[in-house]
Symmetry: C2
Subunit: 311 residues, 2 copies
């Protein structure tokens, strides 16, 4: 059994995007096993268990990932993750991966794949709402798919927005109001918001939005009126209804699962698409266990590891 403690440091982001795209294609064709993630609530947060089997990559396993919002006060990341990979033929544990960074990267890759297929432009102004770790991952992954001309940055905390601008200094960056950040071709939302922050009237026709922040029941970032104007694609129907951007509006009756246009996997395989250049498209990302398997397969091919006795 191999332990990959520093997994993700040397991955090629464009290759990750391709691997994650292939996993979404398998999902769109119904070729994966992936039950919805299971939540356990702890006193200061929660953890999610995400088992899956991705036959095309010959890989199966489980990611275990926590969300503890007060961790930064203790010097720890809010989100940490570990992935366990099993041998398909025997069920023997093959590998353990420190998946904290991998989780960031594979989530960025899902946004990049969505933007690749759903953005109507190849050269874009990117609006960024929220400037945490995941915002950076989204920018880096999307830059592998589209030409980013300018980044419009908004954070609730201006100091964080300025820090993000410094980190992204290779781009033309502006720190702006949230309304101004919506004046973009592609908008990425990565906040922990539990009420809508993006108002429908701020978003122009033809915009693509990657809604990344909402990944648990009760979380939402977008005005439900915006959902009603848009073609909404989810990563996985069951997970999105339970814990994605659409979960709150569905629960309170302002949106319904029947309105969902399809899955990103269906978009990747060409079964679903942006139907109108003036449509607003939204990708509602909850994070799929098959994304974790796809990136784990890359790490296991190329990363360095510690050998552990098992049994």
């Amino acid at each position: 059994m191999q332990y990959f403690s520093g997994a993700g440091l040397s991955l090629d982001l464009r290759e990750v995007n391709r691997a994650v795209e292939a996993a979404f294609a398998d999902h769109g064709m119904g070729l994966v096993q992936m039950p919805p993630k299971v939540y356990i609530t702890l006193p200061g947060g929660d953890f999610r268990t995400m088992p899956a089997y991705l036959p095309s990559a010959k890989i199966a396993g489980v990611k275990i990932v926590n969300v503890h919002p007060d961790n930064p006060k203790k010097g720890l990341p809010t989100v940490m993750a570990l992935t366990v990979i099993l041998d398909i033929a025997t069920g023997r544990p093959l590998a353990l991966l420190n998946a904290t960074r991998l989780t960031d990267i594979r989530t960025g890759a899902a946004g990049a794949v969505a933007a690749r297929y759903l953005s109507r432009k190849k050269t874009i102004t990117l609006g960024v709402a929220g400037t945490g770790r995941q915002a950076g991952a989204q920018v880096r992954a999307t830059a592998e798919e589209l030409e980013i001309e300018q980044i419009l940055i908004w954070s609730r905390t201006t100091r964080h927005a300025e820090k993000f601008r410094t980190d992204m200094k290779q781009y033309d960056c502006r720190v702006v109001s949230l309304e101004q950040a919506c004046n973009a071709d592609v908008i990425v939302t990565t906040t922990p918001s539990r009420s809508p922050i993006i108002r429908s009237e701020w978003v122009h026709a033809g915009t693509h939005i990657n809604a990344i922040g909402a990944d648990a029941p009760g979380k939402q970032e977008l005005d439900p009126a915006l959902l009603l104007r848009a073609q909404v694609f989810v990563d996985d129907m069951a997970q999105a209804v339970h814990s994605g951007e659409v979960n709150v509006p569905i629960t309170n009756g302002s949106y319904s699962p029947e309105k969902i246009a399809g899955t990103l996997g269906e978009v990747v395989i060409g079964k679903k698409r942006r139907t109108d250049p003036d449509a607003i498209t939204i990708f509602d990302s909850t994070g799929l266990a098959i994304q974790d398997l796809a990136i784990a397969a890359m790490v296991m091919r190329e990363g360095s590891s510690i050998d552990l006795p098992f049994p």
Copy 2:
């Protein structure tokens, strides 16, 4: 993060029984979080993901366990397991445990706890149907709770029964027919059968049966007529209906969930009990994630480990 590679070698079985009993008590009082285990099917077997939180022991985590029936031909155990323990306060991975042996031991402990509360005698003749690794675990754990006067051993393969007799030479053992093995105070079934092997008419009034083998949809060991004669206690209602001894009879309509007398946890806390000395009692064990957490807590207090970097 600590890795316990040889977990279980030095555990005191009576202490394990008490820890597992306490976990069942918490379950009976509704004090645990434990969603039903999630199954993923692989070409040559399956694996199950079992997350839980056991507040009284301040422990949370996930066991991942496979079942690959052809593994022995490859020199590997049919069942292998790994448990990941997370820090409750921060969600940080604290420990990994090789849980192959621990799975045997904690399953044995559940049977022992059931026999302690449901066997009408303290000195028993023990009938053993199936002589694999789990049969041994059941005998060793039960011997900590009850006085075993004689063991009646049956296996489909006589050579395996003889081997089991040799392994258990400290007891008065007899290799017998399956019908004769049912002439016992407590019967333990640990076969991988997918059709009933224990006929109702073979089982006397007052017998207690630990039905351990059926732990996946389609598996069963007992005549449905025996279930209808008995007080059936399950470890967990949702898991038992899905994959326990009762799963096939419930699916084909010869038994119904309403007939289940209660859970072992309810028995441990005194809410449910054997109602008649002449009743046949059955404990339908599917294996609970809280059993894995209870035994993991013991290993983490006493076992030796390898320190792994995380992150």
